[in-house]
């Protein structure tokens, strides 16, 4: 197996015994590397890369979630504000309505009271007038009877006075 290309020196010669040593020790080194040295490193690196990848993904998801939540919150806030405003407006409207109603009712009541009062007054007045009329008639008849006395027919005089009074009240 020895081939001397250069003729001397032995620099380019292939030494079988040496090659056997190299081959055997290289195989041992390779086996040690394959069985004991490299696999833990490979798994560790893969695990770490996986971890980092997962963490990044989780962080991204968390950020997205947080963003969504904050957006939701904002939306809810806006909605709540709108609702509050609406409620306030409704309340104001209702209050206005109630106020108007109350005023109307009060006015109505007042009108009614006034009406009643007027009616009562009218009645009183009528009564008073009636009383006054009969009193005046009596008085007039009395005074006329006193003045004219027996000359006059009582009935005719009453009619005459009534007519006069009716005309009077109409004017």
């Amino acid at each position: 197996m020895t081939f001397l290309l250069a003729g001397g020196g032995g620099l380019l010669s292939f030494n079988t015994g040496f090659a056997i040593w190299i081959l055997v020790s290289l195989i041992i080194f390779l086996l040690v590397m394959m069985k004991y040295a490299v696999p833990p490193i490979m798994t560790a690196l893969t695990d770490r890369e996986q971890n980092i990848k997962e963490s990044l993904e989780a962080a991204e998801k968390a950020i997205a979630k947080a963003e969504k939540i904050s957006k939701d919150n904002e939306k809810a806030l806006r909605e709540a504000e709108a609702k509050a405003q609406q409620i306030r407006k409704e309340a104001v409207d209702e209050a206005e309505l109630i106020r108007v109603e109350r005023i109307n009712k009060a006015k109505e009541e007042a009108d009614q009271i006034i009406e009643q009062a007027k009616a009562t007054i009218e009645q009183e007045k009528k009564q008073a007038l009636d009383e006054l009329r009969s009193e005046v008639a009596k008085l007039a008849v009395k005074s006329a009877s006193i003045i004219i006395d027996s000359e006059l027919d009582n009935e005719k005089n009453n009619k005459l006075v009534d007519k006069f009074l009716t005309d009077l009240s109409k004017n």
Partner: protein, 361 residues
């Protein structure tokens, strides 16, 4: 590919010139050592080089031989060092420095521990130990449940994720890629450490050895072939939708392509690491050659030039060392990806692009 061939050619040229010169010098001046031994520095040794004050700069490594005696009896012998092997009277040293059995016969397989092997173990071992240390941290949860802590783990993770994402997952189908990460990562880290260890003082570059790179490429080759899908083999041996006579050309080219890929891997890494090393030694060697020829003053003068150039080359070597480890790993991933790919595209387009690729390779 052309670049690699050129590198090999230059290396061969360099070797042929340098060896003939060495022999010429030996003939003229007898046993005198050359001023600077370029080949000796990059070649493999039976000792581990250390600073001079420890054991004279050399820690001898064990020699193990599987050999046959003159009677044809097979034997496996191990010695603590070359000297012990020679002292046992079983082996003698020839004039060229080779070890042969004393009573005739031959060494069948030289299983000696060499400096390159030690550096291979150091480089690969450091890669494995660092990975296991990192793995224990990840097991504890640091880096899995929390962020990675400390410079070491962060640097480790950068490299690991780079190999996993940019090398494996980019070139191999997604559901298969993770299976090849241990192999690619071991190759990348191991080759990087071997390349970088070569830059340390006294150290040797294990990847500047054809045996090492060829074995690494062989492992890539075997893994590539074992991960080949039916589609891959169909495209190697039998081209659906191609005229019959074209197959006579394409099939040999494809089969050849299976072997040229790992061959290119081996040569590319080897030549890159060796060339850089030789260049540094040659440029630094100028200091000693000039000192030898013209005296110490000339040596100092050249030293300024040589050392500053070497600093630049070192920076380049660090880059090239990492780059070549990356290229080896990337191309391994590409080859595996090509073999393991499930083809979904139309046959016409695939063949035109595939043939073009083969021609350019």
């Amino acid at each position: 590919m052309i670049q690699t061939l050129r590198r090999v050619f230059l290396t061969l040229l360099f070797l042929s010139v340098s060896t003939s010169n060495t022999f010429a010098a030996d003939d003229a001046e007898g046993a005198q050592e050359p001023v600077i031994d370029v080949m000796g520095t990059v070649a493999d040794h039976d000792y581990f080089k250390v600073p001079k004050f420890i054991n004279g700069g050399k820690l001898y490594l064990p020699r193990i031989f599987y050999w046959e005696t003159a009677e044809g009896e097979a034997k496996l012998s191990a010695y603590a060092s070359t000297k012990k092997a020679l002292a046992s009277d079983e082996f003698i040293e020839t004039d060229e420095g080779a070890i042969v059995p004393a009573g005739g016969g031959s060494i069948k397989v030289d299983l000696s521990i060499t400096s390159h092997l030690v550096y291979f173990w150091l480089g690969m071992g450091l890669a494995v130990i660092l990975t296991i240390m990192a793995a224990s941290r990840y097991k504890k949860g640091i880096g899995r449940d929390v962020e990675p802590k400390g410079a070491m783990q962060n640097i480790f993770e950068v490299l690991f994720v780079f190999i996993r994402d940019d090398v494996a997952r980019d070139n191999i189908d997604a559901h298969k890629a993770d299976r090849y990460v241990p192999f690619l990562f071991t190759m990348f880290m191991g080759i990087s450490f071997m390349n970088l260890f070569g830059l340390l003082p006294w150290a040797a570059t294990a990847t500047a050895d054809l045996t090492v790179t060829a074995t690494l490429a062989l492992v890539t080759f075997v893994i590539t072939q074992f991960s080949g899908t039916k589609d891959h083999w169909a495209h190697v041996f039998w081209f659906p939708g191609v005229p019959g006579w074209v197959r006579f050309i394409l099939t040999p080219v494809e089969i050849l392509g299976l072997f040229t890929k790992p061959f290119a891997l081996a040569i590319r890494l080897f030549a890159n690491m060796l060339s850089g090393k030789i260049m540094i030694i040659a440029i630094l060697g100028l200091v000693f050659i000039f000192a030898d020829l013209f005296g110490a003053g000339a040596g100092f003068g050249v030293g300024i030039f040589s050392v500053s150039l070497t600093v630049v080359l070192y920076a380049l070597k660090v880059f090239v060392g990492l780059l070549q480890a990356y290229i080896f790993t990337l191309l391994s991933a590409v080859f595996i990806g090509m073999a393991a790919e499930d083809h979904h595209h139309d046959e016409e387009g695939y063949h035109t692009e595939h043939i073009a690729e083969e021609v350019s390779a």
